[in-house]
Amino acid sequence: MTIWSWDYTFEVFPVIFKAMWITLSATIVAFALAMVLGIILAVLRRSSFKPLVWTIIGLSEFIRATPPLVQLFFVFYDLPFFGISLSPFVAGVIGLGVHYSTYCAEIYRSGIESVPRGQWEAATALNFSRTQRWTKVILPQAIPPIIPMLGNYLISMFKDTPLLSAITVVEMLQTAKIAGSASFRYLEPFTIVGFLFLVLSYPSALLIKQLEVHLNRRKKENKAKKSKVKDVAPSC
């Protein structure tokens, strides 16, 4: 008996492949949530109301340092006691989204802090409202440089979606497990899942690296331009 069965592979591949849509939609929805929540956390962290800032810092550290798996269980099994009953998919998306929002917030923060002080002052000088300062001046400058970092977290989150199987979301891994336990063959289904993850995440990672190189080069060119201007200025 050969260990790897191609017949069985062709049989289960379409089943697992179909479940990829659950994996992908969970990733996309959860990441959208993480990005939005992340911005809110990042902006609130700059509040002048210190107790709020400390609460956010403490809560973020706590969420980031504890297992997302346990957080998923918490959302799925515990919220019903507070009258919030969620489908496994929604619970999963909320759990992952909240977990990753704390990472996104850190990235936004680094982006926001890299916007020069003068930009804030200029925005105030031009009499923009508080919201306008954020949406028209600061965020448009803070976000592009951090897109690659966000991209890396998107991939990380994608690779964390198998955790959803633990709260009965039938995504790729759960599908493979069900197929495996029915046929007593685990080799092919699990290998297919691993293969699909690799095929999706590896090229995305390369793409992000490319983007990063591109952004860095642009930054350097801009800097070079600026320093040229500086070099010329004194002799004029």
């Binding site: 706590f62 340092a65 504890t66 798996l69 918490f74 099994y77 699990f190």
Partner: protein, 219 residues
């Protein structure tokens, strides 16, 4: 006040689980860093074959997902005649997965050492091994530390996954307790999260301290 008493009765089982979690954690940490150095140095090797093997290993384990790797090792390897205990499977999966990530930290730190350091070591006629051991690694190691701290925190979080292959770690114990004490779900899960947080706390403080030190050094 029945529930407080019942809750207190649950604590010992949770602590039993914590022992298993810490056991998995410590073994995985050891192997993670061994693997990280082997793969990280391997990717910098002058021999293409070693570079190739290291790259393939790193990309496969970073490109798939820890839980998939864990299931693969736990459910598939027995087909090849390798019966693994849940503990062994857990430690292998975690070490291979986080070792792949940590190897990039090792590699990055080594590459960040200025070329002049290698050249000075050559000028003093050190062998390639001596250059690495006495000159490059001691400097690179300091640079690796914050990254290692962060990986270790990730590793702590990752250990919860072994509960899914029936290893009775902290998370597994909590899930079992919840089955019998559904009314205490909130208390059990909150205790669980807090226990994890306290396991991670020393590392968090260490990383924050290192980061501050690096920042001060730069300024």
């Amino acid at each position: 006040m029945i529930s407080i008493n019942t809750y207190l009765e649950l604590i010992p089982s949770l602590l039993d689980g914590a022992k298993v979690t810490i056991q998995v954690l410590l073994w995985s940490l050891i192997f993670t860093f061994i693997i990280a150095f082997i793969a990280g140095l391997g990717k910098l090797s002058k021999w293409m074959v070693i570079r190739g093997i290291s790259t393939v290993y790193i990309e496969i384990f970073r490109g798939t997902s820890l839980l998939v790797q864990l299931f693969w090792i736990y459910f598939v390897l027995p087909l090849f005649g390798m019966e693994l205990s849940a503990m062994t499977a857990g430690v292998i999966a975690m070490s291979l997965c986080y070792g792949a990530y940590a190897s990039e930290i090792v590699r990055g730190a080594i590459l960040s050492i200025p070329k002049g350091q290698y050249e000075a070591a050559i000028a003093l006629n050190m062998t390639p091994f001596q250059r690495m051991k006495n000159i490059i690694l001691p400097q690179a190691f300091k640079i690796m530390l914050p990254g290692f701290g962060n990986i270790s925190i990730e590793l702590i979080k990752g250990t919860a996954l072994v509960s899914l292959i029936t290893l009775s770690d902290l998370t597994y114990q909590a899930l079992t307790l919840r089955n019998t004490h559904v009314g205490l779900t909130t208390e059990i899960f909150l205790s669980l999260l807090i226990l994890y947080f306290f396991i991670a706390l020393p590392l968090i403080l260490f990383v924050r301290w290192m980061e501050r030190r690096v920042q001060v050094g730069r300024a």
